[in-house]
Amino acid sequence: MKLKQLEGLLGDLQQFSNPKVELEQYPTRPHIASRMLYMAENSFGDISGKVVADFGCGCGTLGIAGALLGAEYVVGVDIDSQSLELASLNAEDLELDIDLVLWDIRNSKWRGQIVDTVVMNPPFGTRKKGADIDFLSTALKVASQAVYSLHKTTTRDHVKKTALRDLNARSAEVLCELRFDVPQLYKFHKKKEVDIAVDLWRFVP
């Protein structure tokens, strides 16, 4: 599948209608999601034929992108049941089979390393400090092959140090810097839309 085609399909997915600020629910835009999964597949072979988990999947964008690129098995995990209902509808519309689990990543417990690759757009930890690192910590325990994640560029040094030193990642590499456009979703957003710089990371557990 071509990148444009993938981005187009992701653009048709339903998004949150009432995003929850405490969960830092921001949709992963098709532009970013498609590039993230496309790179994981075409540069590293981490998607097709693999078991892929989408942590904090929201309405399922990254997991669905994985399934579209040939992942053998996709499981999406989120703490919000309304998001999972949307994810389920989105997958159904594209005739994809995706497993969904209502779970808090931060205190989830996984047996073994059945998952090959974790893809995630974690909460950036702006509202709840450390949430991004909590997600990364679990992801590095669950994945056997790779973890793809988005983190604010301003936290680059911290993320790298934490991943390598505290979470025992074998490598932590920024693949590219992207512009994450955050539309005015919440009342505390004063500007109509802001761009924040985010890094697309690839970690090897």
């Binding site: 999972l84 808090d104 059945i114």
Partner: protein, 122 residues
């Protein structure tokens, strides 16, 4: 929820040391056909907790899997087809997952297990 997911989930209530495997309580299940890949099955076989898969499949009425399995069986098409069906084609739609240690019931609705803990369980 399919049984590959079941093979990964563990109960994480505070103090629980053996939260795997969760027992299935089945009210409704469905079967959906998916493409067969022998290569995928061979790769994933060593990671599967076999007994958990056998018991889960049986609770959905599928009793074709042998009690024990080893990698020599992966040469048999017949075995692979049964493994494929149990692992990837059986979906628990309504029911629950039960913690083997505490008996805590995690409900499954519309195919989605609710593994969220109560405040006093974290």
């Amino acid at each position: 929820m399919r049984l590959l997911t079941h093979n990964m989930l563990s109960c994480n209530i505070k103090g629980v040391t053996n939260g795997f495997p969760l027992r299935l309580e089945v009210e409704k299940f469905v079967e959906k056909e998916v493409d067969f890949s022998a290569e995928f099955l061979r790769n994933i076989f060593p990671k599967i907790e076999w007994k958990a898969l056998v018991d889960a499949a049986r609770s959905m009425g599928y009793a074709e899997l042998p009690d024990e399995a080893d990698s020599s069986m992966l040469d048999s098409d017949d075995f692979l087809k049964k493994f494929h069906h149990a692992l990837l084609e059986l979906h628990l739609e309504e029911g629950a997952l039960i913690c083997p240690e505490t008996g805590r019931r995690f409900p499954v609705n519309k195919g989605i297990p609710n593994m969220l803990l109560h405040e006093d369980e974290v």
